[in-house]
């Protein structure tokens, strides 16, 4: 109770300080007056009475001070006073303040951007109820191909998961693809996914209007029903409340809308339309094509679930081990968020590390600046100490200055971070990140605040270390500083900065070389003049191979009539894309019975010609190849090398009775097999005539892929795209192209990760180099200023200008060289961690190392000797006179 009263009183006093000060003064005056009166009554003279009264009172100032101590929150008032003083100091030294704030804004800003990514991907909870109960199924392989990552499952695994793992509520989905949605006005290409009946239940999403799928609808031959996302409902259907129960035309068929998802929850897989998956053991269920998500039921544990999965999928393990001796496979649950972001983790954390380096480099620069400033303020500080301020008080006030700078820099940094983040996100293709958005939320702001505080400690603490050995008398009396102010310390800071810069430069150098390597892989075809357009044939009208063939013939004939078009063709996938893969068995010759994995692409006649892929032997797909004639295939060089050891593959038979009739050159594509994650490579590929694809395969591949119409023309521009769209519409008005691409666009799409890495890290490395250069420049410039007198004397005594410049510049250069050495050592240790991101070159690549060293030396010499050149303007006569 007492404490509360005291606090309350103190808070009131805060508000009425001035008035209370005045009242106290009046009260004290009254006291002295009363005392004087009494003394006069006792017989003293007026003067003596007053003097005695004052003596009896004690110190007036002291009393006032003690009174104030009792009255208010002392530390708060002092802090306020320190802040005001700091603000005045900063306003007076605008050059210094703006340099510091700008540097901090940049450094903290990039950290904010990087942390926003880390936060959105790794820290933020999934936007579903009880997200800690959500999981995915991860496949762990031991042995030579060791890995542990979520993988897709097949129909049999799904049925066992659903029926024999009671601890989990499970669901599966297909990956998202583009399909055609036809409304009265036009056709839209929308993103769609197929989900099993309980998918939304696992996530905990309930339709805002209508209902979820039932289990009957999820069976093969179930009703054609669809769920729409809230966003699609709003944009295409104008939030029509009567839409539920109505029919829409999806994939060429009629679907009934049974529900609309709420717009407040992010739509799973960022799609617009959901239809029942109807998982089975046939068709796509034969292979690993379903992505599973699970929710732990109440009362169950993850260990129980893992054990049950192990039992349910025991067969899978056994047959896998039989086919791949030496490897063991096991399955376990993993948190859904972790599983989804597994690949991105190292990238995002690496980015945060790089921005952390930038912050350290910036702090080193600022610490150097602060040291110089402290040096200049020595007389002022000495005076304050002499007047009775305690050392801790002075230090605290200095720290408040750094704090104010850091907070201002941090606030500016938030805007810089916002801009940097959105710049980065703009570089990424849509749907690249598994989260809907990357906000600057509370966590990020808290991070920025903490970063600012730590920064202020880092470069504000230095004056503290520096002031500890402070000799008052020396500082007060000396006008010139003869001893060197902390040169060693500043050189160490420079060395540290340069070391970190070297690491960043080397890392970005390796990534740049990787990107260059990937982008300049021999294309194996001629991309000039080629335009590609994709359309979704996941449409009931083209399930019949005859209808499909008719579409191919008519659309291609019409395309070839477009003026300027030299040739046209259709292919399931194109170079640079990820193709269909399958297992093939060789039926004759030495290698009979061998089966292996190959990519499979169906093409129309003219595919190789349109793309400019060289025909090395035999023939290409011809219009004579039809469903009734001999099934043929054309393989690429990689296929021949891998399965026939370089011998001529013509005449060999594959699978049932497909005969190899031709061989073409290799083209780079996004590999399906292979041990490392190289984004572009050549793989054994088999091209088959589109006309010879059977009904079952046709339906499947059109669910997974959008085939491309490719056209070689003299002028592949906007007009050509419009012409192609019109041509296709003339053949089938309900079939829109979903996008147009140049071959380089496809390559860019496949290499997006590498491009973003290069952009981000390259920028950071450049920033680090700039900051280091600024640091070295500042060091040498301050040396020149401080040692002007000494240099003037030296020159007067006969030293050459060059020697003088060299002496000063060398301080900077030596520090940088030390940093270079440390940096290279750090590289040797840290760079191997990047092995998974580098392709085509070694981690310890000599050319990259040479480039890094050369560019660093160039910048260092420029930064160190430019300010040193000012020495040329020193007039020795003048400096001597100033003595």
């Amino acid at each position: 109770m007492e404490l509360f009263l005291v606090l309350w009183h103190r808070m009131q006093s805060l508000a009425t300080r001035k008035r209370r000060d005045a009242e106290l003064d009046e009260e004290l005056r009254a006291h002295i007056a009363l005392a004087t009166e009494e003394n006069v009554r006792r017989g003293m003279s007026a003067e003596e009475a007053r003097r005695q009264a004052l003596v009896d009172f004690g110190g007036l100032a002291q009393t006032r001070e003690n009174y104030r101590v009792q009255r208010g929150f002392r530390w708060l008032e002092e802090l306020a006073r320190d802040l005001r003083y700091a603000a005045r100091q900063l306003a007076r030294n605008r050059g210094f303040s703006s340099t510091v704030i700008l540097t901090l804004a940049l450094a903290i800003g990039v950290n904010t951007a990087a942390f926003s990514l880390v936060n959105a991907l790794l820290l933020r909870r999934l936007p579903y109820p009880q997200p800690e109960q959500l999981g995915a199924i991860s496949m762990r392989l031991t042995g030579p191909m060791a890995m542990d990552a979520p993988s897709s499952i097949n129909g049999e695994q799904w049925e066992n998961l659903r029926d024999r793992v009671p601890s989990l509520l499970s669901a599966v989905a297909s990956s998202a693809s583009e399909v055609n949605l036809a409304t009265a006005e036009r056709s839209h290409a929308v993103r769609a996914a197929r989900i099993s009946a309980h998918y939304l239940d696992v996530l905990g999403i309930h339709p805002a209007i209508g209902r979820n799928f039932t289990e009957e609808e999820d069976l093969p031959n179930g009703a054609k029903v669809a769920l729409l996302s809230g966003r699609l409902w709003r944009s295409v259907f104008n939030s029509d409340r009567n839409l539920v129960g109505q029919a829409i035309r999806l994939k060429g068929e009629t679907y009934t809308v049974i529900g609309i998802l709420p717009e407040s929850t992010p739509a799973p897989m960022d799609t617009e339309v959901y239809t029942p998956l109807r998982p089975s053991r046939e068709g796509e269920g034969r292979g690993g094509n379903y992505e599973a998500i699970v929710r732990l039921r109440d009362g169950a544990t993850w260990q129980q679930a893992d054990a049950e999965i192990g039992r349910a999928w025991a067969d899978v393990g056994r047959s896998f081990a039989a086919r791949n001796p030496g490897t063991q496979v096991s399955f376990h649950t993993v948190a859904l968020q972790k599983g989804a972001t597994l690949q991105l983790r190292p990238l995002v954390l690496g980015l945060l590390l790089a921005t952390g380096f930038i912050l350290l480099i910036a702090c080193a620069n600022l610490a150097g600046l602060m040291l110089v400033r402290m040096e200049r303020r020595k007389p002022e500080l000495a005076t304050r100490l002499a007047l009775g301020a305690s050392m801790s008080r002075v230090l605290r006030q200095l720290w408040v200055e750094s704090l104010l700078l850091a907070l201002l820099g941090g606030t500016a940094g938030v805007s810089v971070g916002y801009a940097a983040l959105h710049g980065l996100l703009a570089l990424l293709p849509k749907h690249f990140l598994p989260v809907a958005d990357v906000p600057l939320d509370g966590h990020v702001l808290a991070f920025t605040l903490i970063a600012s505080l730590l920064t202020s400690l880092l470069f504000g603490m230095l004056p503290a270390l520096f002031l500890r050995r402070f000799d008052l008398s020396e500082r007060l009396s000396s006008r010139f500083c003869t001893s060197h102010p902390r040169l060693r310390l500043r050189q160490m800071l420079i060395a540290g900065e340069v070391a970190l810069t070297v690491v960043l430069l080397a890392a970005s150098g390796l990534l740049i070389r990787t990107l260059v390597h990937l982008e300049t892989l021999p294309p194996g075809f001629d991309a000039k003049g080629v335009l590609a357009a994709k359309a979704s044939l996941d449409d009931v009208r083209y399930a019949d191979p005859a209808a499909f063939r008719k579409l191919m013939d008519e659309s291609l004939a019409a395309m070839q009539r477009i003026p300027g078009v030299k040739s046209a063709a259709v292919g399931l996938t194109l170079p640079y894309e990820r193709p269909l893969n399958d297992e093939v068995t060789i039926r004759n010759g030495k290698e009979t019975g061998t089966s292996a994995n190959s990519d499979v692409i169906y093409t129309t006649p003219g595919y190789f010609e349109t793309l400019g892929i060289p025909l090395l032997a035999g023939r290409a797909v011809a219009s004579s190849d039809g469903p009734e004639t001999q099934h043929v295939a054309i393989v690429n060089l990689a296929f021949a090398r891998k399965f026939f050891h370089g011998e001529n593959p013509l005449g060999r038979t594959l699978n049932k009775e497909t005969m190899i009739v031709g061989m073409v050159g290799d083209v780079p594509l996004s590999p399906c097999f292979g041990n490392d994650d190289t984004p572009l490579d050549r793989e054994p590929t088999m091209y088959i005539p589109a006309a010879q694809v059977d009904k079952k395969l046709l339906t499947l591949v059109h669910i997974w892929f959008e085939p491309s119409w490719i056209v070689r023309a003299t002028n592949p521009g906007e007009d050509l795209a419009v012409a192609m769209q019109r041509t296709l519409a003339s053949v089938d008005p309900g079939l829109p192209f979903s996008g147009f691409y140049h071959m380089n666009d496809l390559r860019a799409k496949t290499l997006y990760v590498q491009r973003v890495e290069v952009a981000a890290l390259g920028l950071l490395a450049g920033l680090a180099l700039l900051l280091s250069a600024v640091g070295i420049f500042a060091l040498v410039a301050s040396l020149v200023t401080l040692r002007t007198r000494e240099i003037g004397i030296r020159i007067a005594l006969g030293s050459s200008l060059r020697e003088a410049i060299a002496t000063v510049g060398n301080s900077g250069v030596n520090a940088a060289l030390a940093g270079l050495g440390i940096g290279l050592a750090l590289c040797a240790v840290l760079l191997p961690a990047m092995r998974s991101m580098i392709f085509g070159i070694e981690v310890y690549d000599m050319r990259t190392a040479a480039a890094v060293v050369l560019s660093l030396l160039l910048v260092v010499f420029l930064a160190a000797f430019t300010p040193a050149l000012r020495i040329a303007r020193i007039d020795p006569a003048q400096t001597l006179r100033a003595e």
Binding site: E2, H9, E27, L34, G58, G59, T63, Q70, R71
Partner: protein, 112 residues
Amino acid sequence: MGKDRTDLLQGTLDLMVLKTLETMGPLHGYGIARRIEQVSENALILNQGTIYPALLRLEQRGWIKAEWGTSESNRRARFYSLSRLGRKQIEKETENWQRVAATMARFLAPSS
């Protein structure tokens, strides 16, 4: 009562001020200081200024109240008076002191 010496000193001064106000009625700062000097028969010579932080402390705790008024010599001065809480505090502290004194007396008495 406080734990260390400064608190002890403050505590005794507080009690003296409260008792003074109880005996003398409302009084200004100077009056209270003089009275304490007199009662302690000048054994306690404190700097009169120290009374003011003490008065503020008592005011913050709600044991005394303050009002502006006029002195006998027609001077405007701030007069302090005891509050109800203050009277209760006097009782508490007096009891405390008497207990302490009694205990000490027992220790200091000639052994018998």
